[in-house]
């Protein structure tokens, strides 16, 4: 496995932990903020050249057109105890040191087991093919490419861009109009959540947080 090739963001040595260690990348989806503009979906497709019919992130709307209408942007949450990683028979899915759940398309056998395991519907397969020729899985890479040489043509073709290696955050979170989708190191994301909880009196609107990362921040 070429896991050693990944470029991992590190926490600053002068941060709260006081030591240089890999960051723990997370998503925060604030359902009190998401307005379903679709900016994340378009940015993702444009950044990673995702084909039509594959949604590495999509915005789900509940109760459309009625009071209580709520929008949720759902990418891969890069869970702490990722069920997809647990069930993948060939270790095509693995945790990078920074917590990003990465995918190796060279070893994926396309069994679809991760699809049944994932509570967020993140794994994607090309549709409409008979007799199991649906190819290998595709999913959100946190804009961190895959286990290939960073910025190589091969990485670009198989996984899309590698913004993490460039020192940037995922495209979806970078374009979010209302800052509903926040990406970054767990410490900083948790700070944003705390600020919002404090401002609102209650409720960070962090959909899927407990499911992906366990209780608490």
């Amino acid at each position: 496995m070429s896991q050693a090739q990944v470029t991992v963001p590190y926490r600053q040595a002068d941060g709260p932990q006081g030591k240089k260690e890999p960051a723990r990348m997370k998503f925060y989806i604030d359902v009190k903020r998401c307005i379903e503009c679709g900016g994340c979906e378009v940015a993702c497709k444009n950044e990673n050249n995702v084909p039509s019919g594959i949604a590495r992130i999509r915005v789900v709307t509940i109760n459309e057109g009625e009071p209580g209408e709520t929008n949720v942007a759902v990418p891969c949450m890069h869970c702490s105890k990722a069920p997809c990683v647990a069930v993948c028979p060939v270790d095509a899915l693995f945790h990078r040191p920074d917590g990003i759940v990465a995918l190796n398309k060279e070893t994926c056998i396309g069994c679809g087991y991760c699809l049944y395991a994932c509570p967020f519907g993140a794994p994607q397969f090309p549709k409409g093919c008979p007799f199991g020729s649906r190819g290998v899985m595709d999913k959100c890479t946190y804009c961190a490419g895959g286990p290939e040489v960073a910025f190589s043509e091969r990485e670009r073709r198989l996984y899309g861009s590698n913004r993490i290696a460039e020192g940037k955050l995922p495209a979806c979170a970078s374009v979010c109009a209302t800052k509903a989708l926040i990406a970054g190191d767990a410490e900083e994301v948790a700070n944003v959540v705390r600020q919002r909880v404090a401002a609102r009196g209650a409720g960070g609107g962090a959909w899927g947080w407990d499911a992906a990362y366990g209780k608490g921040f």
């Binding site: 009190k32 903020r33 307005i35 379903e36 503009c37 679709g38 900016g39 979906e41 378009v42 497709k45 444009n46 039509s52 459309e64 057109g65 009625e66 009071p67 209580g68 209408e69 709520t70 929008n71 109009a177 209302t178 800052k179 919002r196 401002a199 609102r200």
Partner: protein
């Protein structure tokens, strides 16, 4: 814009989007920022979270914005005046109005009160369909949570009495005393990129840049700026009368082609039409646009994409498509809805055969034979450009700066002098030092400046005016009173100057008229003198409840031309017919037929969706956006659909009255059953084109330029109806019927 200008003095958003973070109540009426201004929702939601701001969404449709509102009020389309007057009626009855503000800074409140008395809650409830309890809730919420802002967009303006609607929004804020305060104001959100800038530089047919009008003084002022003889400008027109006569508007230019020339305000019909970044599918009565496009001799379309214009008319030749560069391919500056200037860098040179707008313009000027006059002020980058500009794709950055400097020099009435290219470029470098809430820079070489130098930015030392009419800070910091545009005294002899004690600090503590020649003194002497004395160059006047110089001095409710309520048409009729308005006859009463509702019982309203913008020639060419919204549709309440025997996903015909043509217009669209709209209304998004009355026009596109999605245009079925003052199209209210396809 005309509505705002006639109340306060300037036709622009008074506060800025970031300032909504200071609001404690936000009324969003006739607007859907979650789809049309997604970024502004950041500020609105922040206000909701941190200030506990009350968000009130007033709309015929439960929009994506309404989902975030504390209160959603469903109103019948086109009854905004009655709704707002109902609120003011309650506010006055309870004594919640800001008496000091009204006394010191407004004009003609007494007459206004008399007009308001006609709109008691029961009457308003009957007109708008809003229960009286909801009116009271909203009135109390607005009164209890000050400062509050009122935000609107095309839902407020695209009506036959849109100017009146806009003025009532202003009046509500005047009554509540919310003007000239952080968190208050009348915040009209303008939709397109740099649309405020386009208005400022004279995009309309009735004024030269800077709202100088088109009278002789205006022409002479600009002749001085452009450094060309006034006589030469005059010689380009047929005569002086035509030079000073407003032209056709974008809303009704096609009548200049179609009507008999005797009915027009000019001797001959329009023979050629040039579109520069405008889509025909955004124009009302598109069936008539189509006829006009078939009749004119020449059509020129300047656009990066092949638009609807190119395929709509049934004609073999006479259409010229000029490939324009996108904004990423040229240096430019734009002015957004906040009145902010922003300098924009070129990202790439124009690709393929595309040329920048300025290159196309200079080339045209060359062919018309006035390149010398046209490029007179382009000093920097002009040298070295070959005399033959046919092959020039772009001019240097210096040229674009020169264009902006020309506007800095001339547009003094609205204070463009300070927004120089040098300062804008410096702000671009120091963007990180600006505060998100106040837009003020903290430290650095831009210390104290407002982001974007919002006009009026009187001199190159002035920080800009992020919040208009704010009289608690000095003029040198961006303070000002209401603009004294109408002299010191009204025709009825009453005072139009602000009261004693109500003026920006640092100058005379009372009202005063505008500085003489401040708008025409190119040396800036007049402006500098006023500033030195702590006075606002345009004076310190009063906001007007009574705008005596325009139709309906006191705004009043008028039923839309296509009203579903014959009984209300009798009581609140539309205007009398107008013989000539912007060179075309503009009938009102003769077009308003009470029995239409029998044949066409359902209200039709139109609007935008988040994926597309305007005619969407560009957006419909993006695979990602099309994937999110692939097909034209009509939003229909389950009751309407079921009553017609239709289901989600079925096709249906939408038909509208035969007002100017013999036959009804119709479009065939797919049904989306949703409770967003009420059971009396259907909604159409406006962006599609390339299909006309059920027939695809795909074969007419040049090879390989068909967008990923084509569909019926909503404006094929929008009907006659134009604003009395600005001639804005009434696309938000008409009547239709649904026929199973």
């Amino acid at each position: 814009m005309a509505g705002l200008a006639n109340v306060f003095g300037y036709g622009a958003m008074t506060n800025h989007q970031n300032d909504i973070r200071n609001s404690r109540s936000i009324m969003i009426i006739g607007m859907n920022p979650a789809e049309n201004h997604p970024i502004s929702m950041q500020h609105i939601l922040t206000a909701k979270e941190t200030n506990r701001a009350v968000i009130i969404s007033v709309d015929p449709r439960f929009t994506k914005t309404s989902a975030f509102a504390n209160k959603y009020v469903r109103i019948r389309s086109g009854t905004d005046v009655a709704f707002i007057y109902g609120l003011i009626n309650i506010i006055l009855a309870k004594g919640w109005e800001d008496k000091q503000f009204i006394q010191e800074r407004t004009y003609a409140f007494e007459e206004f009160k008399g007009e308001i008395a006609k709109y008691d809650p029961q009457t308003v409830s009957d007109i708008t369909g809003v229960p009286t309890a909801e009116l009271e809730w909203v009135a109390k919420a607005m009164a209890d949570n000050r400062p509050g802002t009122v935000i609107w967009a095309m839902g407020g303006t695209q009506h036959s009495h849109g100017t009146g609607i806009v003025r009532t929004f202003c009046h509500l804020q005047m009554v509540l005393g919310n003007m000239g305060k952080p968190g208050g104001g009348t915040d009209v959100f303008r939709g397109h990129d740099s649309i405020q800038g386009v208005t400022d530089i004279g995009g309309g047919p009735e004024t030269l840049p800077g709202y100088y009008g088109i009278g002789e003084t205006a022409w002479k002022h600009w002749a001085k700026v452009w450094d060309v003889p006034y006589e030469w400008l005059l010689s380009r027109f047929k005569n002086k009368a035509m030079m000073e006569k407003p032209g056709f508007t974008v809303a009704r230019w096609y009548e200049g082609v179609l009507l008999d020339s005797k009915q027009l305000g000019q001797d001959v019909n329009v023979k050629a039409v040039m579109f520069w970044g405008h889509s025909t599918n955004a124009m009302q009565q598109m069936d008539r646009v189509k006829k006009a496009l078939e009749k004119v001799e020449l059509i020129v379309d300047v656009d990066p994409y092949v638009t609807n214009t190119a395929v709509l008319p049934d004609r073999k030749d006479g259409i010229y498509l000029l490939p324009a560069a996108s904004n990423y391919e040229q240096w430019n500056s734009s002015v957004n809805t906040n009145r902010d200037n922003q300098y924009r860098q070129r990202v790439v040179s124009p690709v393929w055969e595309a040329r920048t707008d300025i290159a196309i313009m200079v080339d045209l000027a060359e062919r018309f034979g006035f390149r010398k006059q046209f490029t007179h002020n382009m000093k920097g980058g002009w040298r070295g450009i070959p005399a033959d500009v046919k092959n020039v794709k772009e001019f240097s950055q210096q040229t674009m700066d020169d264009v902006l400097r020309e506007i800095n020099t001339g547009a003094l009435s609205i204070g463009y002098a300070g927004a120089t290219p040098e300062r804008l470029k410096r702000q671009q470098e120091w963007a990180h030092v600006f505060d998100i809430k106040t837009k003020k820079a903290v430290g650095g070489p831009v210390d104290g400046e407002s982001w974007g130098l919002p006009w009026p930015c009187w001199t190159d030392k002035h920080p800009g005016t992020p919040i208009l009419y704010r009289n608690d800070i000095p003029v040198s910091d961006g303070g000002c009173g209401f603009r004294a545009s109408w002299g010191p005294k009204a025709p009825d002899g009453r005072n139009l100057m602000a009261a004693e004690g109500s003026a920006p600090p640092g100058g005379p503590n009372t009202g005063y008229p505008a500085q003489k020649d401040y708008a025409t003194d190119l040396t800036l002497g007049a402006i500098k003198q006023a500033l030195a004395e702590g006075r606002s160059p345009y004076g310190n006047g009063r906001a007007r409840f009574n705008s005596w110089n325009i139709p309906d001095p006191l705004p009043l409710h008028r039923e839309p031309i296509h009203s579903p309520r014959p009984d209300l048409i009798v009581k609140w009729p539309t205007y009398d017919d107008v013989k000539e308005h912007y060179r075309v006859p503009q009938p009102y009463k003769s077009m308003q037929k009470p029995d239409w509702v029998k044949k066409y019982p359902i209200i039709l309203t139109t609007g935008r969706v988040v994926e597309f913008e305007g005619g969407a020639a560009g957006e419909r060419n993006s695979p990602w956006l099309v994937e999110l919204n692939p097909e034209m549709y009509v939003e229909m309440h389950p009751k309407v659909a079921h009553d017609h025997g239709l289901r989600h996903g079925d096709m249906c015909w939408i038909e509208t009255p035969e007002d100017m043509d013999a036959k009804p217009s119709r479009i065939k669209v797919k049904i989306k059953v949703t409770k967003r709209v009420g059971p009396d209304t259907v909604f159409l998004p406006i962006h599609w084109g390339g299909v006309f009355e059920g027939k695809s026009l795909a074969h007419k596109f040049p090879d390989g330029t068909v967008p990923y999605t084509i569909g019926e245009s909503a404006n094929t079925v929008t009907t006659y109806g134009y604003d009395r003052l600005t001639q804005m199209q009434e696309t938000k209210t008409t009547l239709c019927r649904i026929v199973k396809a």
